[in-house]
Structure formats: structure tokens, C-alpha cells
Subunit: 335 residues, 2 copies
């Protein structure tokens, strides 16, 4: 007997913005661990915009969660009971079994992480899927060159804040947007973006024209919707766009829709790379090593917004969708 | 004095399908040619779907034609008077000054073509922008490999029929769609497509699933709209799409709109190459040489639908938009 776990389940399918009572905290008895299994206590949980997608019934790659099922997502934790040789008690492991404080799993379902390399929660951010997404999208797809201009939206978010820095390392001019002037100050002063656009108070098209009079060579799109459309209109010939997310649309009833002006990409020879981190799985060891080196040398800013307490995970989830975070949004489950 | 030219002007902005009285045939006196200029008699005129775009006021790369202005487009003709050393009388030249039977221009505005290399009208088709579009989109962007599957729509059209053949040359499996079973027979029997889909009578999604059970690796899109959406849903992971045109939408009030399911490209790591022939301008000599070799060796089928008589150019224009052509749609001005 491995004790009791608390899990977060979907009580009803959310419509629009998430409400507390769309979810429930449920206690479950865990089975005794079998040979090859471990009991893990989650210490950190990742809260990411894409999680909103599996709560809808809109068809897509993310199989819709059913009412009553437990939410999933990235987490790191520590093995507290073990019947698996390669994962002794005390081992740190990464899983996709977030939204629960503890769980039993077979060792083969877990990814061991090296807690000496970086703080545990880094494996959810810069050394996890966040880093893989930002690095792969920027260096493997967009390939910024010195003298080129890139527009990054959601630039104060987990992925965007890394993209800003990675593009600057290659000498690109970076235009960054986010939803408050405080974020703007951070994005320019701490991350090195060349110009900031407040998408709530500025006219995005006007600002793009002002900051990129010769057009955008690249866009890294975390937001979609109107921001993607404005950027497409601002693209220079032969521009490249990394389509990473569409957070502006996630609470809407149609997040899957394309921009109203796709035809412009034909006229201007613009390439759109739809992508997710899965594309870079085979490159992950090299990418993580490169990012770990930058992190260790203090060359990249790795900001985290930490919500303390498992009880607050839905507030954190709602917060990341509303852009309340700066850098990576994390829930610290075990203090 | 170089005589009288007949030109086709836009009399009013067309709404929906083109009507004869949207246009007028107008006679104009041509000036005497000056030093460096030539008088050209057009022999062949290209009629292409994209021409519909500059008749609308929807914003885009194609500057809208104003009421009363002469339509433009690809043409080849013969110099009949010359005050330019490099273009003697009898020289064959390509221009973008279609929709007129003769014209005066400076030699620097014209592209000399080698009438010994291939029939004159080939420089509007397989050795012109049509060939550049098909070859560049297929070989420079999609890069088909043996064992891969590509879906080509508008496959009986000028560009599509070349794409089918170029993809087959690289060993890809080709699924081709067009609007009649007669075209289907031609596309499979003459061009070598592996499977045919009649987009008017078949369920496109069903047929794509049947013919590409493991998904599409590539799509060459001439049609846009619902056909692009169906193909996106049928894409395999890491698929590539060449966005070349959206003929299904050209008569509509919004040809610029994107697909309803762009988000699928994020989930499946699908790249979309918006492109036009301009992208391959620097590669044009090599591309034209390669295509001319294939043509001379009889390795590619170069079908033409020829409408005889300048008077019939609007009927030909309407015809290419309605898919009445097989292969390249041409107007023979001078018989």
C-alpha cells in the first residue's frame, strides 16, 4: 500500500475562461508498488497553455480529456519507494503525470534527471520541453542570422523569453511583444530585446511597421489570431514563421482556425513551420546540453513564476492562460 | 507611327464569375518607336488563374487594376519594327504585356527567347512561369523522395500536370485530383499519377485516407479552400505543403483566408511553403535548361488547350478559372 494521492480531475468541460468548479481535487488510494515500479512524490508541476487544448472536444492531436479523468502535464519529483534497480529512492524523475501530488508508475515510463546539473524545476523549463521548443523552433527552423529582424510574441512567457535570448545570441534584431509595460521593461532590459510592443495598448501593425520598416524576416508565434495576421502583413519577402501556439484563441470555440490573410504568404514567399517539441526529440540530448551550458555560464536569464502549493494549481493554470506569469509558470507542490 | 493596337480593358470590377461586359476591346494608336524601342506583335497569350486577383480590390501583392486600364499577363510575340540593336525584326520576345495584339516597348523591358529551342508558346508554359512554378515548388521546396506520397490538386492544369510528372520522376506516389473523369484518365494514363480523385463527385477526405493510409508526406496546393483543409487533416507527421494558389476562392469575396484547421500543422509538425515563381528567379536558367532537356527528349507531356483568336481571350480567361483547360491554357492571337 503506497498511501493516498490527491489528483485534479475535470468535473465538467470548461467553456471560455477556466472556473474553479470545472475541476475537483480527488483523493485516490494508490496500489502497493510492484516489481519494476516506483512511488514518486511530485515536487514541481509545469503549467502550460497547451493544456487548455485537451479540455475541449475540438478534434486535434491532443485526445480530449473525459469528464472525471485526471489532468496530465509535465512534473518532476523524487522516488520515495522503489522496486526498480535503476531508480533508487531519492532519484529525481520527470513525468507527464502532473496534477497529482504522488503516483505509482513503472520505471520505464519515467525520465531520470540529473539533479546536480540544475535546480529540479529547470527540467520543466529551460532544460525541458520549454527549452526544446524554443531552441528547436529558433535554431533548427527559423535559423536567425545577424542583420535579420524577428518578431517574438508572448515574449515574457516561458518559451518566448528564451526565443528572445536565443535570437539575440545570433545577432538578430528582436521585436518583442507582451501584455504589460512591466513585462516590456524586463524583456528589453533583462533579455535584451531591441524593441517592445505592448499588444494591449499599442497598435501592433503600426509598431511592426515602425520597428521593421523593411519587413520582418522571422516571426516566432506563440499567440496566433490577430497577432499572427498582423505579422504576416508585416513579413518581408522570403520570411519564415515558426507556428508554436495560439494562446489568444485557446479559450475560444475555434482555436484551430488559420489567419485571414494566408494568401499573403504565397505573394511574399513566406514559409510557415507548424511545429512542436516532438520534432526535436532526437536532437534533445544535444539541445539540452547546449542550454545547460548557457545556464551554467549565466548566459541566459531563466525567470520563473512560482505558485506555491498544489491547491493553487488551477489558479496557476488560469494565470498562464491570462499571461500573469513572467518566464516559466510553475507550481511548487513540495516545499 | 506604329499603327493601331487592340487592347482589353476592365470596364467595371467583376463580381463573382467574369462576365463579357466586365471588359472591353479598345483600339489605341501606338506612337512611332523611339531609339531603343521595338514594335511587337503578340502571337500567344498566357491565361492564368492568378490574373483574377488583380481585378479585385482585396489588398495583396497584385496591385488592383483600375477601371479603364488594360489587363496584363504573359505573352510571346515577334518584333516587327526595331530601333534596338539586340532585338532585330523577327526576334521572339516574352513580355508581361498580354491582353493586347501589339505594343511598343523599350528592348530592356522584354526577354528574348530562343524560338529554335521549342515552340514559341512553350515560353509561356513549361519553359516559362508555369514551369518555374511547378519545378521550383516541387524540387526546391517539397523535394519528393522515393517512397513518399504527394497529393496534387488542379492536376490537369498547367502547373499541376507538370508537378505530377516531376514528382513521379523522383519516385513518389502521386495522388492527383481534378474535376472530371476524362481529366482523371489523362492524369493517370498520360501523366502517370498513381490514383485519381474527382473532387466534384468523390469525398476527398475519404479518398485521401484510402489512397494514403499512412498520411500524406506532401501536398502541392493549387486550389486552396476545402481541398487544403482536407489535405491538412490527411498529412503525416513532418509533412510539407507547397501553397501555390487558391483557385477555388478566386471568384469569392475572400480568397486570402487561411484554412479552418491551421492548428493541425502545429500538432503534426507540418511546414507550409507559401511561394510563387519569383522565388526561383535566380535559378531560372538552370530550371529552364533542365525542363527544356526533358521536353526535347520527350520525357514530359506538355499538353496545351489553345483558344484561337484574340477576340476569345475573355472566354479563355473564364475557362481557366472554371477548369475547362487540360494543361496550359493559351490564346493564339496570330495564326
Amino acid at each position: 500500500m503506497s498511501g493516498i494521492a490527491t489528483e485534479v480531475t475535470m468535473q465538467r468541460r470548461p467553456e471560455g475562461a477556466l472556473k474553479d468548479d470545472d475541476f475537483a481535487f480527488v483523493e485516490r488510494s494508490l496500489p502497493a508498488i510492484a516489481e519494476g515500479e516506483v512511488l514518486v512524490e511530485n515536487h514541481w508541476m509545469s503549467v502550460d497553455p497547451y493544456m487548455r487544448l485537451y479540455l475541449t472536444e475540438q478534434s486535434g492531436a491532443h485526445a480530449p480529456l473525459q469528464v472525471g479523468e485526471t489532468l496530465h502535464g509535465g512534473a518532476v519529483g523524487i522516488v520515495v519507494e522503489s522496486r526498480a534497480k535503476n531508480l533508487p529512492v531519492g532519484a529525481a524523475v520527470q513525468s507527464m503525470l502532473g496534477f497529482r501530488d504522488r503516483f505509482v508508475a513503472h520505471a520505464s515510463e519515467l525520465i531520470p534527471v540529473d539533479a546536480n546539473l540544475a535546480p529540479l524545476q529547470s527540467f520543466l523549463g529551460v532544460l525541458g520541453l520549454t527549452g526544446l521548443t524554443a531552441y528547436g523552433g529558433t535554431y533548427h527552423l527559423l535559423k536567425p542570422q545577424a542583420g535579420e529582424t524577428i518578431y517574438v510574441n508572448g515574449a515574457a512567457g516561458a518559451v518566448g523569453s528564451l526565443v528572445v535570448q536565443l535570437a539575440k545570441r545570433r545577432g538578430a534584431t528582436v521585436l518583442a511583444s507582451a501584455g504589460s509595460d512591466a513585462k516590456g521593461a524586463w524583456v528589453t532590459d533583462a533579455l535584451g530585446a531591441d524593441s517592445f510592443i505592448n499588444y494591449r495598448s499599442d497598435d501592433l501593425s503600426e509598431k511592426l511597421a515602425e520597428y521593421a520598416p523593411d519587413g520582418l524576416n522571422m516571426m516566432f508565434d506563440n499567440v496566433g489570431g490577430g497577432q499572427l495576421e498582423a505579422a504576416i502583413e508585416a513579413m518581408a519577402p522570403m520570411g519564415r514563421i515558426a507556428l508554436c501556439g495560439a494562446i489568444e484563441l485557446y479559450d475560444s470555440d475555434n482555436y484551430r482556425r488559420g489567419p485571414a490573410n494566408l494568401f499573403t504568404t504565397i505573394e511574399r514567399n513566406v514559409t510557415l513551420f507548424g511545429f512542436n517539441a516532438g520534432q526535436f526529440r532526437s536532437n534533445a540530448p544535444a539541445i539540452v546540453a547546449d542550454l545547460a551550458g548557457m545556464l551554467a555560464r549565466g548566459e541566459i536569464v531563466n525567470e520563473e513564476t512560482i505558485v506555491v502549493g498544489f491547491d493553487n494549481c488551477i489558479a496557476a493554470f488560469r494565470g498562464v492562460l491570462a499571461g500573469e506569469n513572467t518566464g516559466k509558470m510553475l507550481v511548487q507542490i513540495k516545499v
